[in-house]
Symmetry: C2
């Protein structure tokens, strides 16, 4: 990998020197993935300047790696004919993604300028929901007929594949109406006798996606069975396109981001996950407020619990100072348990049948860590406040609180899962608040029972 910020500095120097040829050579020498990183660091006017110096193919390769708003920004500011040329160089699915992110009039203008066949295919792609197989697939697929021989197919590939910039993992066998009949891997093709018929070497028990399948299903299929590519068919089993590993790669990154966002109470249901980090502030606020609001309601319950014990607080104000300690550690260890369970569900390592096993296991861990920390806290409090009873109560509350936190943090994801609610979405903030409320109740009950009367 290259050091992006060094490169950016060098490019800025060349821009300042106004030596166009040198800049052109420099830019066209980078891999498009590196160029994308470089472009993200440049200022908009530098970016535009550099973009116009790229060769058309390089510019098209780069476009695929850029975030949507930058794609639209760059293509919108260059000459329309040049932009159309670049769009034509893109795979159909990438072109549809870019055009789909533009205003309707702008995308219509480009579609009219593109070669007829290309624009027809892109228009069809634009009719699919972008989160479904139809919106993700590439319609350029190499198809053959079942009565062709291996040699015929190899000749067909030789004549066809370079032309259409197709991805080659499998050859799909279809009938005249484009119904999908079978699939032959390149490997099988290259290792079978050359006069064998395709229908004799094809796999006809095909795993396929439907145009309306959602992206999370597609990711699960690819991740579980580790396919390189899957065909996409319509309701009538007509082959419409294929989805390859590199399409899924982007989806996986998006899903991981959503999973991580959700774990800290950032909702990805209301606002597209791209918008939350860098889009409009209003969207960011919308995505972040719902779970904070639920936390607010939950913490008001905690306030009420504390208020219920206000005679205890009045009698012994010192006990208030340990509240953050108890809440902080209970919250942290509980969050660890939630994280382990939620991640375990999504990797498949944890299943609903093993609920009891994990609850008991986590309870044991909570008990071990809670007792240790409780003992430490008892000792420190005793030494500091010279009050052994206070030390014992705070330590005991700590041990109970941490053990309870692991149990709640483990039990709740299983309960949500059993109720068919996604544990990733609902767990974090709700559980943290529940632990706060119960932790306070336990602490004040201990204090009012054993301490206020004793002292």
């Amino acid at each position: 990998m290259i050091n992006i910020s060094n490169v950016v500095d060098r490019i800025r120097e060349i821009i300042d020197d106004e030596t166009v040829i040198q800049l052109k050579d420099e830019l066209n020498g980078y891999h498009e993935a590196d160029l994308a990183d470089i472009f993200q660091e440049l200022k908009p006017e530098e970016r535009l300047r550099c973009f116009t110096l790229l060769e058309i193919e390089k510019a098209a390769d780069l476009i695929e790696y850029l975030p949507p708003q930058m794609q639209v920004e760059l293509l919108g500011e260059i000459d329309e004919d040049l932009a159309s040329k670049i769009l034509t160089q893109l795979p159909h699915d990438a072109a549809a993604d870019v055009l789909g992110d533009m205003e309707d009039d702008a995308s219509e203008t480009y579609l009219d300028k593109l070669p007829h066949k290309f624009s027809e295919e892109v228009r069809e792609l634009l009719t699919y929901n972008e989160d479904t197989a139809g919106g993700i697939m590439n319609p350029a697929v190499l198809t053959v007929n079942s009565d062709m021989s291996v040699t015929d197919v190899l000749n067909h590939i030789r004549s066809k594949a370079e032309l259409d910039n197709m991805e080659l993992y499998y050859v799909y066998v279809v009938d005249k109406q484009k119904h999908l009949l079978g699939v032959v891997s390149l490997r099988k093709l290259l290792t079978s006798p050359i006069n064998q018929k395709v229908e004799d070497i094809m796999i006809s028990d095909i795993v396929k996606l439907h145009v309306d399948d959602y992206s999370d299903y597609i990711v699960d299929e690819f991740m579980k069975y580790q396919y390189n590519a899957l065909p996409v068919v319509d309701l009538y089993n007509r082959l419409k396109g294929m989805i390859t590993w590199d399409d899924v790669h982007d989806l996986v990154e998006e899903e991981t981001t959503e999973e991580i966002y959700q774990s800290s109470g950032i909702s990805t249901e209301l606002v597209d996950e791209d918008e939350i980090l860098s889009g409009n502030i209003v969207n960011a606020v919308r995505a972040r407020t719902p779970w904070l609001f639920i936390t607010l309601l939950g913490e008001f319950i905690a306030v009420n619990v504390a208020h219920y014990f206000d005679h205890t607080l009045e009698a012994l104000p010192i006990i208030a100072i340990f509240m953050p300690l108890l809440a902080g550690l209970g919250g942290n260890i509980g969050t660890q348990s939630i994280t382990l369970m939620v991640r375990g569900f999504s990797t498949g390592q944890v299943s609903i049948n093993s609920a009891l096993h994990y609850i008991l296991r986590e309870m044991l861990i909570g008990l071990v860590i809670g007792t240790t920390f409780g003992f430490l806290v008892s000792m420190v409090t005793w030494g500091w406040q010279h009050n052994i009873e206070l030390g014992l109560i705070v330590g005991l509350a700590m041990a109970i609180n941490m053990t309870m936190a692991t149990v709640i943090g483990t039990f709740t994801p299983f309960a949500l899962k059993a109720a068919k609610i996604d544990p990733a979405v609902a767990s974090g903030p709700v559980i943290a608040t529940t632990i706060d409320v119960l932790g306070l109740a336990i602490y004040f009950t201990l204090v009012s029972t054993f301490l206020v009367n004793v002292l």
Copy 2:
């Protein structure tokens, strides 16, 4: 996808009925990825029973999908000759992984039983660190000489590839000493004139991995440049093997798990990430204690801050009941900011140069949400406690606390990144505690300045 628990129930019924042939048919009909899920649900004795009924190739395919301890368990309990036959069916890298997880004597016994060439290659793989390219790669690679023609290569593939169960994406061009000279994609091979020399169509400016490259580097390379496969060379540029997408798939899942674990303060540095969820309890406690202990120290500072204001607490015990509310919401919104930045660093959307932009953006979001929530809390507290001054102070503390939390939650990951410390590892618990400490200090200062004197 199939419904695993229905299948497991059906399989249990067949096991009970003792109809071996039916069970055999049922089991061998599933995809190995589904079988792996089914096996995880079965009890050990059911698992062993079912495993012995699988065809050898199916058993080998299944082994690749099972977690390490189950691989070792199953192979250890079946006949040694059968186990050797299954091992021989595995790709070299998978065989090395399985043998590497066994006790040394056990793996030696198997290595002695395997065909000589196979066991030699596996032994070499076992000398590499399992987290490096050498430990991950598959040594079975299709190589050709630079003076071969396209036809020669195609004939070579036809004679060779089926035999060795190689993965076919690229053909690697080497000299007699196995030095890597170039790479030709299957696509290029299939679309070039058949009498062209390989050296004329190969790419000689090759992206390659070194046997000692670490898995996180490998993941970054594959994710960034979206390769299907990369060659692995030794110090002298001799081709040792290749790493393909499906190898990286497992690494990506592991890295994501580590990232998610670290975000909730579960250390993956001390204990292997596999061990934390389901291994020895002692390891789980070791992984979870360090950051909890740091939280403990941090929360003791919070206790001291509260203690510093104990005259305020004595004068006005009611203020204590709002502590969980302030800490809970400050912690939550701060965690959201950390999560966004840490995830942004790992996807490359956030870079160190944009620190100021993100700090200001998050501060604005904190201000908007904090002011709204502060206003709500003021109103509720006023209505509930009939005390407008208390309501105003709690609301003001809430607004300041939430804004401060977003700033700290954004600033700290950038500061850690600048200091070359991985923000994912250090951020969560430290920042949550800092927010607790500062939040309390602000709240008590407001109370003691404006409230205690006023009332």
